[in-house]
Amino acid sequence: MPEENPLVEMEREIVGGDFQRAGDVSSELKNILQQAGFPAPFNRRVVIASYEAEMNVVIHAYRGIFRVQIYSDRVHIEVDDEGPGIPDLELAFQEGYSTAPPHIREMGFGAGYGLSNMKKCSDRLHIDTRVEEGTRVIMDFFLPSFMKG
């Protein structure tokens, strides 16, 4: 892919355990996409995946940085966190698998569908993770070609 400059970049901090502001970053991203005029179904995919990634930092990690780059034909998201990391990625991707403790489940999270949702909603998903160090989630979303121009 030729390296062009993103039209808009955004960088936000995510604080682990902060449920009050959880979701704010994704909702800010949603507003940008909507104001830009990307098609609604595309925005929905991006926002669902972004929210899952954001929530995983809030629930499972200590802190993280959320970076998004918006191009005319794609959206690139990187979520980098300091946290426990994921020891077994394959297991983590299984629907229904979750290590979320009971008090998190009581809040309605921890169903174990986040990662598989991210996979379904994104066009490319890559995860780097180191146990006891942290996790980096990279996602790409491509606009259907007929929407371009």
Binding site: V8, K30, Q34, Q35, A36, F38, V47, I48, N117
Partner: protein
């Protein structure tokens, strides 16, 4: 009466508007600005929820509806009272008397929207059984919520129940019945007794065929005509058909009760509805099958055209539910016939309004977005409304869209004036070269004298 594409029932009485900023801050779609000392409603963004009517201290906002006299234009008139209408009266009053009263003030027949709700509930149950539905299915009964989704949550259009509202359903059934009696379409006048401006707009956009509703008369005006008549009604002519399932739709929670057991939720009040839609948008609440959402606090009993306090109305509803604790099952053959005739179909498909978009061109839109970000940093962030826009961000958007100026913000204006004053002072102290001597000389001279 003309059928208007963009029509809004919420209107402004300019003579009463003092240009205060109560309404602009309360509007859920940021549709109002104060310009030239008067509120201005953006027609594309307005969802007719009536929040500005509630909040205006000067009664400058009002809901435009039809007068009762409008029924005189028709040979055969049918009243469609909203379920919330029942709750306006003391619960000790028999509903059959209320319905008979409607005949007494000039209508030829009455079809209860509450019965329409019972009929529709059966259809919703069938729809919720389908495997291809996008959960949660969001109720389409409240037109303000439907419009809110079209304007602000276009990605949730696929969640909206693709069936008509109870009003739409019962209006079509009423027209079909009147035609069976031999009346020609033009002779039939169907009038909704409405709790809110949003429904007035729904009526105005009901189209010109089977779905046509000829007018919307406010609950409050019918109420005041009716209360005087009630004492004189002895003979009860109309027997009422809707039971607790339909009457319950008068208030929040009624829809789900009529659907029987299941994973449902109900949210009321437009700002709460927005909070829930935001959750649905990010993928939460997928375990919920049906989401009842109403713009008014408490549901339709909280509509701005109601007379009764919504909490008292709720007491009335609760009593009515006990008193009319019956349900007349709907005949399968009828349901099938209505289905065939399109009674449950919406006359207009849902459509994304895309009014949030900054520019038709994506590059331009994102450029504008960045300019807005920079402006937001420059503005004081007080969201005081003095500029006429609801928030600092909204002003930044207005500036970028060339609908406002930076100096509309009194703080930026003040800064500009300070800068100007400094500059003027500096300029003033720069005396023209040719005058220096004289000036100095004067000063010296003055000092000496």
């Amino acid at each position: 009466m003309s059928r208007e594409e963009i029509f809004h029932s919420v209107r402004l009485d300019e003579s009463k508007c003092k240009g205060c900023t109560h309404c602009i801050r309360r509007c859920p779609t940021e549709a109002i600005r104060v310009k030239g000392g008067k509120a201005r409603i953006n027609e594309e963004r307005c969802i007719d929820c009536g929040e500005c009517i509630r909040t205006c201290p000067n009664y400058a906002k009002y809901a435009q509806s039809d007068p009762l006299e409008a029924i005189k234009e028709f040979k055969y008139t049918i009243a469609l009272p909203a379920p919330a209408f029942y709750a306006q009266f003391k619960f000790t009053l028999p509903l059959s008397k209320v319905l008979s009263g409607l005949l007494k003030i000039g209508f030829h027949d009455v079809f209860e929207v509450a019965r329409g709700a019972e009929i529709l509930a059966e259809e919703i149950k069938c729809y919720l059984q389908r495997r291809d539905i996008v959960k949660p299915v969001i109720s389409s009964a409240c037109p303000a919520v439907v419009r809110l989704i079209e304007v602000k949550f276009p990605s949730l259009l696929e969640n909206l129940l693709p069936l008509d509202s109870p009003l739409g359903v019962v209006a079509k059934i009423a027209r079909l019945e009147a035609m069976k009696k031999g009346y020609r379409p033009r002779e039939i006048g169907i009038f909704f007794i409405t709790p809110c401006p949003a429904k007035v707009t729904e009526v105005r956009q009901s189209g010109d065929d089977l779905a046509r509703v000829d007018g919307a008369i406010s609950m409050s005006s019918v109420y005041s005509r009716l209360v005087n008549e009630l004492a004189t009604i002895e003979e009860v002519i109309h027997s009422q058909m809707a039971g607790f399932r339909g009457i319950g739709w008068a208030r929040s929670g009624g829809e789900q009760e009529s659907l029987g057991p299941g994973e449902y939720m109900a949210v009321d009040g437009i700002h709460h509805v927005i909070a829930v839609l935001e959750k649905i948008e990010v993928g939460e609440l997928k375990e919920v099958v049906y989401c009842e959402a109403q713009a008014c606090v408490g549901g339709c009993i909280g509509g701005v055209l109601a007379v009764q306090n919504p909490f008292i109305a709720k007491v009335n509803v609760n009593h009515l539910l006990q008193k009319y604790n019956f349900y007349a099952p709907i005949e399968k053959t009828h349901q099938a016939e209505w289905r065939k005739k399109g009674v449950f179909l919406r006359s207009k498909p849902y459509e994304a309004k895309e009014v949030m978009r900054l520019d038709r061109d994506l590059h331009r839109a994102l450029e504008k977005y960045q300019t807005i970000e920079k402006l937001v940093e420059k503005l004081p962030g007080l969201d005081c409304g003095a500029c006429g826009s609801p928030t600092c961000r909204a002003l930044a958007e207005d500036i970028v869209q060339e609908k406002a100026l930076e100096v509309d913000c009194p703080f930026l204006l003040r800064n500009r004036m300070v800068d100007l004053a400094v500059e003027m002072y500096e300029l003033a102290s720069k005396v023209p070269q040719t005058m220096i001597k004289e000036e100095e000389g004067k000063k010296v001279g003055n000092q000496n004298s």
